[in-house]
Structure formats: C-alpha cells, structure tokens
Symmetry: C2
Subunit: 548 residues, 2 copies
Amino acid sequence: MGITQPLHRMAQQDPGRTALVEGAITVTYGEFYERTAHAAGALREIGAGDGARVAVLSLNSVRYLEVLAGTIWAGGVVNPVNIRWSPQEIAYSLDDSQTEILFVDDVFAAMVPKLRELGEHPLTVVHFGAGPTPGDMLGYDDLLAAAAPVPDAGRTGSDLAGIFYTGGTTGFPKGVMLSHTNLLTSALGGLVATGSLREGEDACAVYAAPMFHIAGFGTWLMTTMMGLRSVVLPFFEPRAVLEAVQEQRATELFLVPTMIQMVLDHPDFEKYDTSSLRFLTYGASPISDALLQRTLAALPGTQLCQAYGQTELSPLATLLMPEDHAHPERLRSAGRPLPHTHVRIVGPDDNELPRGGVGEIVACGDNMMLGYWNRPEESAAALRGGYMHTGDLGFMDDDGFVTVVDRLKDMIVTGAENVYSAEVENAVGAHPGVATCAVIGVPDEQWGERVHAIVVPHQGVELTAQQIRDHAHTLIAGYKCPRSVEFVTELPLTAAGKVAKNILRERVRDAADTTPVPDADADADADADADADAQSDAHAAPKEGSTP
Amino acid sequence: MGITQPLHRMAQQDPGRTALVEGAITVTYGEFYERTAHAAGALREIGAGDGARVAVLSLNSVRYLEVLAGTIWAGGVVNPVNIRWSPQEIAYSLDDSQTEILFVDDVFAAMVPKLRELGEHPLTVVHFGAGPTPGDMLGYDDLLAAAAPVPDAGRTGSDLAGIFYTGGTTGFPKGVMLSHTNLLTSALGGLVATGSLREGEDACAVYAAPMFHIAGFGTWLMTTMMGLRSVVLPFFEPRAVLEAVQEQRATELFLVPTMIQMVLDHPDFEKYDTSSLRFLTYGASPISDALLQRTLAALPGTQLCQAYGQTELSPLATLLMPEDHAHPERLRSAGRPLPHTHVRIVGPDDNELPRGGVGEIVACGDNMMLGYWNRPEESAAALRGGYMHTGDLGFMDDDGFVTVVDRLKDMIVTGAENVYSAEVENAVGAHPGVATCAVIGVPDEQWGERVHAIVVPHQGVELTAQQIRDHAHTLIAGYKCPRSVEFVTELPLTAAGKVAKNILRERVRDAADTTPVPDADADADADADADADAQSDAHAAPKEGSTP
C-alpha cells in the first residue's frame, strides 16, 4: 500500500501511542487504524473505492483525517475542498473531478443545497458533524453502524491518491493529481532534513493549517511516519494554538508568518507556557528580520525552519534550515533543495541560468505531480522537459540557496492565500459597467498584499469601488475580491498588446490613492473570518515577492 | 530524473566538495558530474541508452560508479555482475538479461574469452582498467576521447534502473528489476532513520562492500544524497579499511560482522587511529554479544546499526538502531521496519500471525522490486497480495522488533554469501555417480555456515568428498561448493515426498562426522580469496538463523 502504509506501520509498531487529540477526544494509532478500516467499509457501501473521488468540505477534525485515510484505504481518491471558496468554485471543482461523494460537517452542511443546485452531477452527501443529519444527507454514524471494516485496497505507487484543487489561472481551479509515490516522497524527503528535530516519543505537533491544503495533508503523513502525537484544531485561532501548546506540551508547529505574528501579538501570549516548543516550520513567505528576532526572543528554545514548495510538488522543494536563520542575509531566501528533489532556475528556453540570474524555478523528482486533472495540455506545458515549472521567479546564489523574487506575474498572495488575478479580472469584468480591468497585488500591512483592481468603465458609466466588490463577490470568494479599486480611462499595454502590469504596480506604489474598501462584507462567506483567511496555502504559496 | 538526481543536486549545491577518494585520486561532486555526463556520451556512442543493459564486472573503483551513473544518465539499465560467480553463471545472467555491453577491469578482462564462448549473445566489451586494452575490446579512454558529454536522459519513477542478479533457487540466478523510485525510496527511508548520524561536511564513508551488491549501490545513493566524501576500496581488506579510516578521518563504515571481526583481529589494529568513526552499519547477520562488546570497547565513539533487507527491497526493510544495542535481548533481532516500508509476519495463507509467531517475513512499500526479469510467474508469486515475500522466516515481538530465525529453508549463508541449496544440488547431482543428494548449511566457526552435502551414490559407486567438490566447481563458484560431504544410502522424506531437511540438519548437528574438505581449491576462482568471500550480500542475506 501507499499513503496508508505509515498508518499500518504505526498501528503495528505502537498501537497504544496517542495519534490524535481533538479537544477531549484522544485517539491512539491502533484506534485510528481501526476507525480507518471501518470508515473504508462504510465508504465502499456507498460506492467509494476503485478510484472514485471523495470530497471533504469541513473544518479540521479527527473525522476529516479518518475519511481521507478511509477513502484511500477503500481504494478511492481524496478531494479535499478549499473551505474558503464560493459555492460556484466548489461546484465547479466537484463537477470537474466527477466527484459524487461529499462529506460535510455542521458548518458546511448549509452550503449543500447551493452546491446541488449549481452542480451538474448528482451528489451523495454524507454528514459527519456532531449535530443532526439534514434530511437529504446520509449520516456518517448510520453508515458506520451498518458497515464492517474492510481490508486495505492497497493502492500504491503511481496510483492517483488525491486531486488537490488550486486557484486556476483561467478563472477556475485546476485539479493537481498527486500519486501515492508523490506524497510519500515529499514526506520522506522532508523527514530526512528535519527528522532529527522531531524525534522522540513525547513529540507532539499542532495542526493549525487547514487539512484541505497540501501542507495539512503532508504534515499528517510526516507526523504519522514519525509516530507523533498531533493536536487537531478546527481552524487557526491564536489562543487555541497557545492552549494546545501548553496543554499538550507540543514540540512542533506549522504556521505561516502572519499566524506567527498573530500568536505573538495575542494579549495573553505571556500567560501561556510555550517552553515545550522545539521546532517551528513556516511557509508561504519568508520571515522578516523583525519577526524573526521577536520570535526567537519569545520562543527561545524553538528552532525555525522555512518550507517552500507548491501543491504540484507534493509540496516540498526547499528548506531554510534552523542554522541558516543565524545568517541575516539568508532570511529572504527559501533555503536549499531537499534531498528528494532537484531545483533549477531556467530561462524562457528552459536552459539553466548562471547563478544569480532571475528565472523560473523548476523542480523534478518523484514528488512531481502526475498532472492536472483533465488538462493534458496544461499538464504537458507545466511538466515539460521532466521538470515542474512552478511559475515562481527566483534566483539561486553560489551556495545553492533559492530566493523567490516574484511569483507568476499575475498571482497575488493575500493573507497567505493565492489569488490569480485573471480569475478576479473575469469576475470584475463581468460587471456590465466595466469595459476592461486589471488586477494586481499591492503591499498591505495587514494582508501582506491586497487585491487591487484598476477598472476602465464603459464610457459615461459611473461606478463605485463597493459596486465592483459586491459584484465580484457574487462570483468568487470574499478574499479574492478587490479590497481597493481605482478607475482609469485606459490601461498601459505591452508591445504584445497585453496589459503592462509592471507599470501598473509601479504606479500604485508611487500613489497614495488606493485606500481599501471597508471590509464590511468579509464575513459573508461561511468561513471568511480574518483568522481563517490567514490559514491556507501555507506551503504552496510562493514567497512574498520583491523584485530584486 | 531519478537515480542521477542526487548527483545533479550535489553538483549544483556544492560542486567543489570531495565526492570520491580512490588511492591518490580525488574526485569532487562537480567533477564526478562532468565525468558521468561524459561517460554517458561514450556509452550512447556504443549503443547504450533507451533501456539497454550495461553490465560491469570489476573490483570497486571510481570508474565503476562513473559507468553505473553514466549508464543511467544515458538512459540505460545497469547490470552489476557478481564478481565471485563462475563464468557459466555470469554468461547465463548476461544472456538472460540480454546484456550486450560489458565493462571489465584488468582483473576480469581474462574472463572475457570464456564469457564469449559460453554466451549466446554477442558482447561489446569495454576495458576500463589501468593496463593495456586487449585486442578484442574497446578502450574506455578511447571512447571518452571520441565522445562528448550528453544531457541526462531523465529516466525516473517506475522506469527500470537496474537488474541485480541474486542466486537462483532453480540453479540459475534471477534478475531483480529495480526502478528509480524503488532505489530512491529505500535510500530516503534509510536516511530518515540514520541521517542525523551522518550529517556534516566532514562526514566520510568507506565503501568496502562490493559495488555489484545492492548494499554498495544503496550506500552510494545515500552518501550522494547527504553529500558525503567516500573512500572507494577495490575490495575488502582489513588493513586497507584501517588505513582509509585513519587517513581520511572516516566517520562511517558499512561491514558485515565477519568483516568487523577481521578488522578487530588485525594485528596492527591498535596502531591505527580509528577515533573518527561515528557510525558503523552492519548487515547480513546479527552481531554476537561478544563481538558487540569487543567492538564497543575497540571503537568507543562509534554507534552501531544493523540493517536488514534484501535485493528485492532495494534493499532496506528494518534497522536495529544504536540505542537498541544497549538492550542485550534485542541483539538477535534485525530491528524495526523503516518509515518507508511496512513489514508483516504471515502464515502460509498470507494472513498476519499473532505476535511471536514464526512465519514468512513480507514487506511492502515503494521500495518493492518491479519483479524478476523475464519471470512473470515467480514475480507474481513473490509479490502476491502487494507484499514482497522475502523467503525469510521470523517473528515480531510486542514492540515491533523483527527477528529472523531461519531463512528460506534451502538457503545457506556462508561467509556472508547467499547459497541456494537447490543450485548446489543441481551441480552435485550432475555427477554421473550421484543418485540423489541434499545440501544444507551447517554451523561453522569460520564461515558462519558452511555448505554441506549429503549424497546418495548410485549402487556400487565409490565417491570421495573431493570428487564431489571438484565436479561441482566445474559448474558453480567455489564458495557455493560443498565444504563437507557425507555419503548415505537414502534421504529422509517428508509426507509430501520432499527431502526432510530439518531432519538432516538435526542429524548433522548431533554428529561430528562432517570434517570439512581441505580448502585447497578455494583460490581457483579469480576472486575467491577468503577476504573477498566475506564481502558480498551484505544487506541481502537473511540473518544467521537459530530456530527459536
């Protein structure tokens, strides 16, 4: 077997060891193994298995992991759903992947009617929340009661393990197909570099990153391989993280810098005992020197490690190791390639550039995705020459450290979420008063970057920023909508006739007229509280860029 | 790319770091990278690449590794040849794998005419020794001079990387097909467990195990992934090991217990400075408590680790970690499964046995071979149910430690070499005077076990032990020939009509009439000096067994 193999191993080697803690619930490796086999039995009863896709739309929970592991065990393919997407986006991804089974918790059960209305394919929805099961759904407990455990289907190697959707450049998400070998290779490679930092029977990790994200899944694999005890938090919330660290004497934590800042900023930070923390991994962006110094002072016994990668790399590509953090000149870099992968910086002709030259970051290895679901041309383009083309721009120094200097030009990272500008442009441009528009990221103290739209209205039409934002929000998630809007009469174009975003970015930086729209509707999504916004794309997002 | 990927990474990350030391020769990672690309160019000129098999029959050398890496780089498949086999066995393996290109060094050039005579397929032979190139061979230096470096062919994942022949149960060797993912997975898994023991820029390994063996190849992969400096010894010789450790301040070493004993026994052991050694891995058999205590006293700063596996597992399955050596009751065990694999003990029905029950050791994971070359039925049988059936018998205790109590009943481990009794029986049975025979291993102070034949002569025929041995030696390698022979009138049979070897073993243990044949012809093989005999099958051999 593949991804379930570490679970078999731990259940065999140390069944009584605690695997997962969720509030008052404690689950041993032996129990989680039994629960997974049972979940797989229930899943097979409703048609999962043999490559069938099973989606999960839920906050983090032990049951979430149980259904993911159970799906693989049953022979199926997991499709963890981004909880911050709009129903339109989710329905698209379910249809695109031909997913017919969807698990929801209490929070997301309310979205199901809309998903059914929008989706083309019929959905079998299983409710696995604590509350009552809605009438048009199956109850997970009922399914378990009627099912028996089944043997592991033994999917492995290049078999498809999961489809992980990422924000699409064409306005719709793309399904990244990852095999068992892909995910196991990244996990093993990550452990070769960091294993010695997380050894020991008392080692305990806190899952604060959302499980739909590849960083969540990858962390689960690594902690299972090492037999760690893990605390499952339903979502990121600074006090909950502090409580978990104190109560469970947690030794390791994965956060993005924004989250680290929020934890340190918490008014009660000093009241909690965080002395057990040994190892803090952060991703999505480099850490500022100021935040690093603050973190080292606040968590003196903790080593820091930066991970860089993307969903398409399952996800790990480079690590900035604890010892590298002692060198301030290294802090803007994403570290060096892990043993399981080879990373190069290439020009448009795919030839490697001399050291220091800025080009696209490409990587190869068994961690490289199988491709994008149902997108053979985009897959071939992304994987051309045997390397995954990350879409990130960066350079490598003489010591092999990779620095990401800019991302795929059109992509914006806001609150650690990837937002593809083309998608926002499609939404904004769909407003009947808009002639054309461009969307870029502009520096923002709170969000790292915020989504900024430059709009050319149709002649004679008067528009407000709020109108643009409200309209966009009918089509895309709140965090993708422009937080600031400016109106112009024309857009600068490149020689090739494309919008010259570099010029737009320079203009915005020089101007002061980009006051954000008040965030009045930020809570309109079931999920879009500010904390949750900061959770995702932990590993996948390229660095917070600054052109060199 | 696959197996060449760690080389690309090291050449990029630290090209000036020393990769290999062979006598006065020092090769950096950057140089080895260039040499490999150049070797690949030369190989492609003579038809290697695109899956073509390239065999190497040679003592260890930098050039050996260069040709292995170059073959993969060129797109080919390596076939490292067991240097202690008879020409018949080697010719069989070359024909079986349809290998048309063979590299030989000065030592083995003399065997080429015999191989050409015995083989069915024409051979392109490349001489890469230091001496003059024989007339019927190509000179490696000439090939290099005429060729240019080529880009890496990029073979990867489930592509076939190598065919590693192991002693065959039917009298001929079987080709174990290993993919890039197979080999990389075992290396990554091994490093997760041992990486922290071998880190650091000054880390230096000594290759004393023969490179034709999977342990040699696996060690090369792991040391390349970690960027170690490695000393290449042409073959195992205690003084050479001591000199290498002292001169290069070597930090790690892989040996089999017989070799450890020989190193400690060396009269000049005390004269050498071995204080740099930090990590000593041993395989092929457990270590005796006496030898362990002696080793710990002689090498006080060195941690010991036992590796267990087999070629079919690329090769790692379990490790007995340094800390486990502090528990005398653990010393007979092979340790616990590595993170990349799942190991079970099963009965004849392939169901897992309760803890403590003796059954066949089976293992799964991405390290599991693709199959045996051209043997679909044996492959399917060995890999049935998604697990590699090791043919080793063992049990697992409550803590998950695996102890190998016996091997595939017919297999003998002598001087750390696997000898399949069926093969020896075929050779002995081919003598016109032999009616039937059985071959078993009997305990032997020098060899761990020695090959012992029980022969039923045809009625009225008088045979001597020496006649049996001489005859066998015309067909199989010296180390496989019976070192002791007894003559009987009939063999005990099981209910199923098979020879009851258990009964034979018990008889031999109770008897004293198994005086070994004098070892007069032990040097008849080009390679069969006593030291060399102790070199191979380091990882692949099952434990020195004692029924529990």
